[in-house]
């Protein structure tokens, strides 16, 4: 096998990369799409994304069984959203987002971001990527970007399927809510995009937490579960009004502020505060993750 490859390793390195093998450039390692495909081939990714498509359809079918039993819908904001869910595609989408925002999307984002590094570590493939060598910061950056892309994709798939299915079933009608007059479909779509955008920003805090845990631990389950657990803990603490001003600093405190986008005129104050909170947390967590990962000894 030696004959054909006599020059493979001894060629002078490509310009700029001193001492490297031919064709090796640190900035060309682990390209975004390679990592994207690596993750796409995983059953976990396919199931999570598939469920995002399936969920609106399940809800849609469940609504078909709806009887006239009105009392069970409960009161308040939630009840009204259920009542309005079947008034049109936009409202159906809104309902689908509303029911998944507090838990399902958190789990999905934690899955994509918490699993990405930890699973490589548990398979043992992480050390071979680092021996390529993929620079550690680059490895993290690419993995983070891909995880965030999948998270965004999940969000869009959920909303897109719900919008499509809801519109086909219930028609293209204005967005209704109890807190404001109805919103014309055109503007309704913009509001919906705003809601999705804000949700994406809020979920950055989960993404940050899960990613940090993913770097710290080799157990993928620990990273995902830990992030979800801490998120739930934060939600519980947020229910305790006695904590007063401390609640403002909880990452979940502003997680429902997107409801402000449904009122007319749009209430953006809490959105701004929520965005500040989420971005600060995400930056902190990611900063820690990079700081840790670029220094630690890989022991997996």
């Amino acid at each position: 096998m030696g004959e054909s490859s006599s020059s493979a390793g001894t060629r002078p390195a490509a310009a700029g990369t001193v001492g490297a093998a031919a064709g090796y450039r640190p900035s060309a390692t682990l390209p975004f799409w390679v990592e994207f495909r690596r993750q796409a081939s995983r059953r976990r990714t396919q199931l999570a994304l598939g469920f995002m498509v399936l969920l609106p359809l399940i809800i849609l079918i469940a609504f078909q069984f709806e009887t006239n039993n009105e009392e069970e819908n409960g009161g308040g904001e939630f009840g009204s959203l259920i009542d309005l869910a079947t008034t049109g595609g936009l409202n159906f989408t809104l309902f689908s987002i509303f029911v998944s925002a507090s838990f399902l999307l958190v789990v999905v984002v934690a899955l994509f971001c918490g699993d990405t590094v930890a699973s490589e570590a548990s398979w043992g493939s992480l050390r071979y990527l680092l021996a390529v060598p993929v620079p550690r910061a680059r490895l993290l950056a690419v993995k983070l970007l891909v995880a965030l892309s999948y998270s965004a994709l999940a969000l869009l798939l959920l909303a897109g399927t719900a919008l499509l299915a809801g519109t086909l079933r219930y028609g293209w009608s204005p967005l209704r809510s109890t807190v404001a007059a109805q919103i014309e479909p055109g503007e309704g779509v913009l509001r919906l995009l705003g809601v999705l955008g804000y949700l994406a920003v809020v979920l950055l805090a989960v993404a940050g937490l899960a990613f940090l845990l993913s770097v710290v631990t080799d157990a993928a389950l620990g990273a995902v579960g830990g992030a979800v657990l801490l998120w739930i803990l934060s939600s519980i603490l947020d229910q305790i009004t006695a904590l007063g001003v401390v609640r403002d600093f909880l990452p979940t405190h502003y997680s429902t502020a997107w409801l402000g986008l449904l009122s007319t005129p749009v209430q953006t104050d809490d959105l701004v505060r929520g965005a500040i909170s989420a971005i600060s947390y995400a930056t902190l967590f990611w900063g820690l993750a990079f700081w840790r990962f670029t220094r630690k000894d890989i022991t997996s």
Partner: protein, 957 residues
Amino acid sequence: MRSPLSAARIRRALPTGRRAVAASAAVALLAGLVVWAVWPDRPGFRTESAMLTVRSGPDGDEPVDLDTTFYLPDGASADRKVPAVLLAHGFGGTKESVRADAEDLAGRGYAVLAWTARGFGRSGGQIHLDNPDYEVRDGQRLLDWLAARPEIRTDAEGDPRVGVVGGSYGGGLALLLAAQDQRVDAIVPMITWNDLARSFLPESTGGETTRGVFKSGWAGIFFGGGGNTGSGPAGLSGNTAAEQPEGAPASAGPPSPAPGQGPGTAPGAPTTGAIGDPSCGRFAADVCAAYLRIAATGRADQAAVDLLRRSSPAGVLDRIAAPTLLVQGAADTLFPLTEADANARGIAANGTPVRVAWFTGGHDGGSGPRSDSDRVKFLTAQWLDHYVAGEGAAPGDDFTFSRIAGFDAMDRGLVATGYRRTDYPGLAGDARREVALAGPPQPVANPPGGNPAAISSLPFAGSLSSLLGGVAGDIPGQHARFESEPLTEAVDVVGSPTVRIRAASATGEAVVFVKLYDVDPQGGATLPSGLVAPVRLTGLPETVDAAQPVTVTLPAIVHRVEAGHRLRLVVATSDQAYTTPTAPTVYTVAAGDAPVSLPTVTATPIPTEAALWRWVLAGLLAAIVVGLVVVVAVVRRRHRRQDSSIHPGYAGTPLAVRNLRKAYADGFVAVSNVDFEVHPGQVVGLLGPNGAGKTTTLRVLMGLTQPTAGEIYVFGHRLVPGSPVLSRIGSLVEGPGFLPHLSGLDNLRAYWRATGRPWEDAHFDQALEIAGLGDSVHRKTRKYSHGMRQRLAIAQAMLGLPELLVLDEPTDGLDPPQIAEMRRVLQRYATDGRAVLVSSHLLAEVEQTCTHAVVVNKGRIVASGPVEEIVGESPSVLFDVSDPDAAREVLDRLEGVRVLPDGEGGLVVDTNGTARSEVVAELVRAGVGVDRVVPRRRLEDAFLALVGENSRGSGDR
């Protein structure tokens, strides 16, 4: 030696201990911050509660006990006198219901005197409705008391420096006290009345109060709720009286009446002076009688009106010289904005400084959104600071108001936008918009007994109902509608709209309620703040054609009518909140001769902290971007400064490890000093028992672990984690690492893609040939056996034919033929300037595969060099003899020669320097036949000799 506190243990435990200390410190700090944030503030004042007996009444000789609490700020003394505030509570409240505000003011440096008004709580006496001879005179006596306190600043002997603050009932007292006693320096009356008679008997065409329509809903809550039913409207408001009384800004006293605290219901209320008459409770007889007369007929006689007027500031406004801050709520069906407007005009007419502020709460709306209560608090403090404490600039007389902007998504409350304007425009606005209404004359029926009745507002139902119009409902047949076209542009109504209507009645008289709805394009109608204009028309013709239009002044509102919305004028015959004629009648109602006229006001929005947060967000994003740029620049710079020179001595050496040391954070030294080289063409075996430091060395070599000291050079390039020169090393360390869901081939492809190197450089065919997996290469690696995975991993390491191949236990899991094949592969690989480093604890493998060996033990190199050399050092010889027992005897006699226990069939002899020929000669001489003399060229012996037989403990030094 077995001491549990051996030095090594301490050293090992210390870093983790330090980490634990740091973690606990961080947790403690966080917990401390949380507790500090949650902990209630320490009061900066002290309180004195006392029952003061004051003399009042028309002649000033009727003693009454008043339950008081005096809040004195810390540091106040005769030498350091402080200004005072007299804090009055709302109807049905006690001194306790203003405690939060009192503490707030005391914290601002004011001595605060809060008291329970006569007729309430533990105070004695009866309710005279802020009568100048009773409640107001009580207030004067409290001023006397304040003046006598040594800590209170005085303007003159017996004249304390004092402001009077109160909401509703307390606000009325503030106005009346300021009119009656010129010692008052400033007042802040909130959500209070100008004319009590008009408040309870309004008439919106400007008619006499005796013609007014009785506001029985509110009056009943005031009177009946306290006097007889005992519980009050607590069920309606759902609030607890002590926490947050409904209907007042946070700095005002509670409105009247606080739920469940009506007169006569307070626990422990003194029964002395209580009247036997169960219909009057603790009300004074004249007040009670007047109420009973009005409530029975729905009409007020002049005597009753006079009684209410006596309790009203309307007649005495010209005597108020104390600067006045009037705070009024827009969501207030009891004392609407009209009342504050009348007070403002009357007081300003004297040249007294007056400032008006509207907020979105009120008796119906509560304290309003937080932005509103904060604004009211700020204005109050500013007013008192200037006019009472004498600090700060003059507050000026600009006018602020606010409008409900929508829902707060977070706490489901309302959000208000504040507006500012330099002068007070009154209720007529500074401009007017006219909107035409259309509709035919419509007959409307007055229901007998006023039932069923339309609902416009529910006292204490809270602000949500009035905003959503949820409670507003008209009864079919009992109301007429007149609607406008959709508005082309939005109108911000600030003030009292006016409208003209015509009405006809067979009886010549009609009581109707005029209301203006905001109707959205879907038909949802909103009655702003639930406000209605009651009208009693007399002298009406029988047919509507003959009717003269009358102008109805609708209640003042702050409301935005969006573009596309319609206005709907509703004239209803009944309203639950009012008493209507009991006889069934049919009126005819028609629109008047003029459009509805909407007042507007130009004002600028008050910037809120939300704008600040927007800047914070922008700043945060900018900071992150700048931070990223800086970090990337620093990393690049450091990267560029990194030593990229080639060590001349090692330029042609695939691997040179120099003085490598690795100590872990817990103090464990895995590699203490390792030093070896791998040259082209060599297959070097890294040999050592488990835990000798082989794997750690390879981890450093792969850039996974940072060495504590020492260097590694690959072709002269210094190797650190992530060095580009790592791309010239192919490695298998600590077992394979594959993506279990991909096939073997896909794994290799995915790996090569991750390197970003040209596809053709990979030489997949050769790698696959080495792996020898056949068709299994298309199966998922999850299903591979250990050996298959191992072979695939070796193939992956050889992808791209790296110049240095580093394999950790490569034959692990392989069967003997495969091991033999692997041996050949490795030997062949180490040609063309390439080299292989194999770590193993299998001696035979190294001996057979490697050209050179490095023996490591306990983190140190114990031998290195060509395999033959290392093996050759072995001093033992294998003797095959005819009579082992005899031979053993002979050998034992020889000086230094030792028979090792090992030999199977033969004798393994450590000659220990004695020449082999001499040993053979000795044996032969003794008659022992020697078949074979084989130097024990086995690495195992060398290894055991170097390492020592006892390898135990090498892993847990």
